[in-house]
């Protein structure tokens, strides 16, 4: 995945995931907008990925429980997955979260959910074909495709941009060689 300095990886890590604390935590109330207070066992808090994933895998001692348990974020809830299954191209991923696939990949490292992985990779395949189509067709960014293109997540946007640039560069190169001969 992204390097230490990758801005997109850092932004992915900033997205919040619901998690539940399994222990009483004195003095950690600021995580739950309760500065100075404590967190009781069983509290549900939304924590950014960079904090929650490490807390969820951390075990203090050989036999003890992890400090908190993670839940699936709302953006990959069953409702969204059903929508993706029904029509991958109609879902506005950007509205859910700006780094959708990366978030899903990070979260699914910690869950065993083969089905979600399948749904998401199928979604990506379908959408990628559509994106390539729009990128190669210069008029694609206007009209009815506008809604679809606005709903792309960050990775899909980069895909769109590079597909678009490559077709432009190709055309330019063909034009150049023609002129010379």
């Amino acid at each position: 995945m992204g390097s230490y300095y990758d801005i997109d990886a850092i932004l992915t890590d900033a997205q919040k995931v619901p998690c539940t604390f399994d222990l009483d935590m004195p003095g950690l109330g600021y995580l739950d907008e309760n500065a100075g207070g404590d967190i009781k066992a069983g509290t549900r808090v939304s924590l950014p990925l960079w904090l929650s994933t490490l807390l969820a895998v951390q075990r203090l001692g050989p036999s003890s429980q992890p400090l908190c348990t993670l839940d699936l974020p709302a953006s990959i809830s069953p409702r969204v997955l059903a929508a993706l299954k029904a029509g991958p191209k109609t879902v506005d991923l950007r509205q859910l979260t700006s780094h959708y696939y990366e978030l899903a990949a990070r979260v699914l490292e910690l869950f065993e959910e083969e089905e979600i992985v399948d749904v998401l990779s199928e979604t990506f395949k379908e959408r990628a074909a559509e994106i390539a189509d729009h990128a190669h067709n210069p008029r694609g960014a206007l009209g009815e495709a506008q809604d679809f293109l606005r709903g792309l997540d960050e990775m899909e946007r980069q895909l769109f941009r590079s597909a678009h640039d490559s077709s432009n560069a190709m055309r330019e190169w063909m034009g150049e060689t023609k002129k010379k001969r």
């Binding site: 230490y4 801005i7 222990l23 009483d24 935590m25 904090l51 807390l55 203090l60 003890s64």
Partner: protein, 200 residues
Amino acid sequence: MYGDHALKLIQHAKRTQALAHLPHYQTELVRETTREVRDLDKDVSNILAPFQGSFNPSSEPATACSVLVNHLCMRRNKRCLLAYHRVRSDKLEEMCWSGKDVLDQEQQAGRQGNGEGSGMASEVGNQSSLSPEEDEYVRQYGDMLAAYKGQWTDIDLTGSLEPPRDLFIDVRVLRDAGEIQTEYGYACHSLTILCQEWNY
């Protein structure tokens, strides 16, 4: 919540990547973030002070957890700070290589910002958008690049990669240089600076 200032920095960095020029250095946010790290470090030392070096995480899970959270926040802030500065320094290096006069350009951008905005912008508008450290970095990087290029006098490393269409190129005369004899035998007046020189 800890890490919010750092996140703002990263959002700035994200925006910077898409821009052609370099926006102002976020002195205030950087300072806030470093202050946060210092506070967190102080907190950790305070928490661990009573244990006098014999802290056992499995006997004190709650304390261990708050130390861990503090530590993770510090690590996060460090990563954000480093990434922010890296995006900017990459941009500056790119400017050096493409042969733009970074310092000059930044001052211009600053002046433009001053004209458009008011209040905040007018305060910082006259300064360069680089921090003093970045200023120094650009200067030294420029020197280093010049020294590196100096090793090959017949190749311009930062020159254009476009091959010329013709053996002859148009030359605009900037300064009177008197009589000049070229290898083709004819002499022309005052030929000094070639914009795009292709060396065979």
